[in-house]
Symmetry: C2
Subunit: 237 residues, 2 copies
């Protein structure tokens, strides 16, 4: 296998420091866009179309999509569906397409359109993502969605966990990737505890979402890897 | 003492995620602006005026300042002085004022002008900076200058090292600060080795600057704390 590099973009505001063209970009928004998309596609949702704004989700609703919007950690005003993985877990939307906008995750996807391939990762599908990355022939960027542009601990730990599985096969490149791997190794056996100290945990726990957070941190519950094809995330089993 | 918070800005591109007004901002550009300024003021330079562009340094030269400019890790074209701490170590510029522009450090200073107090820190003056921060009555932001907007390992480790000394007295706030402290603790006894893996080390080592890097990582060689007063960094002993 040719020598390949893997780097980490720690926040959408740092996207300008990276070149995505021709690469495999792995979008990580553990709490909760990644986790909701992985869960939805694993429970029969046909596709997620990432869109920038709630108005865009409504536009696609006019074309037969189920509109979904999250803002500030809650279902956006005027919507019945957001980015809670629990709302997708019982096959409620099986066979349907969802047009989804979230504070961080879907915006990250829209920033990296120059990539050759865009996939979505979290703890929920890590092993499957590792296999997918190993099959990709070029360089890789792990893209942490963060929170409103800010660095987030849980996404960086998820990136570090992927790096831990990949570092024997792909060259860890750049300071953000080194730091993400170091951080993961510092918390390898206590990811849940580490995330409990994070800003986003406190934000969501304050809304009574601790069960959901625990769900999002589960490892390898699914083998679904969401891949962006023609503007829609679909499951590649 | 009232409860106070300390946060970390991991890169100038993330400055928008922080509110600097009324706070003490601590600029960290270990390789090499911080280290050069601390060294210069410790060896008699009267003041450093941080400026954005080489043209600005030349403007101030017309007003009696020694012009200094670094770009891309080297003395900028047309200048005799850059940001090597070694060029300030022998009292060459004692009693003079220097107008300095660098790729990262001086730009970081210019981004945080809303702060109540701006000081400059590195490994070279860490203990003195800790004392200074403890005397400041409000919140604190450690501002990592990074490299061309990108997160840098050595600045984050220096921030983490400050947090380690301060965390008993000031509340560590936000994911970037938690991560910086964790990273420091993972490398506490091997900072030099950790920095040797960093992008900026490889960049500067390629220019033969390994001795300078080793110098910049020395702890508490100086007790000088550069403080910005009327647009100039001066030594508060």
């Amino acid at each position: 296998m040719a020598r390949r590099n893997i780097e980490v973009c720690l926040s959408p505001l740092l996207a300008g420091c990276h070149d995505f063209s021709g690469k495999c970009v792995v979008i990580i928004d553990v709490l909760r866009a990644s986790s909701a998309i992985i869960t939805g596609l694993s429970h029969g949702v046909q596709a997620f179309r990432p869109v920038a704004e709630p108005a865009d989700a409504l536009y696609w609703a006019g074309k037969g999509y189920v509109p979904a919007a999250e803002r500030g950690g809650q279902v956006a005003e005027g919507f019945n569906l957001g980015n809670s993985p629990f709302s997708y877990q019982e096959g409620q939307w099986a066979g349907q397409k969802v047009a989804l906008t979230t504070t961080n995750g879907t915006r990250a996807i829209l920033l990296t359109m120059a990539a050759k391939q865009i996939i979505v990762a979290g703890f929920l599908n890590q092993k499957a993502v590792v296999q997918r990355i190993l099959q990709f022939p070029g360089d890789v960027v792990l893209f942490c969605a963060g929170w409103k542009g800010q660095f987030s601990l849980e996404d960086t730990l998820s990136a570090g966990s992927l790096l831990f599985d990949l570092h024997k096969y792909i060259i860890i490149t750049g300071d953000p990737a080194i730091a993400a791997l170091d951080l993961y190794q510092a918390h390898e056996n206590s990811i849940g505890q580490a995330v409990m100290g994070s800003s986003h945990y406190l934000r969501l726990a304050g809304k009574g979402l601790t069960d959901e957070i625990a769900f999002c941190l589960k490892r390898d519950l699914y083998t679904t890897v969401p891949v962006l094809i023609d503007g829609e995330l679909v499951a590649i089993p």
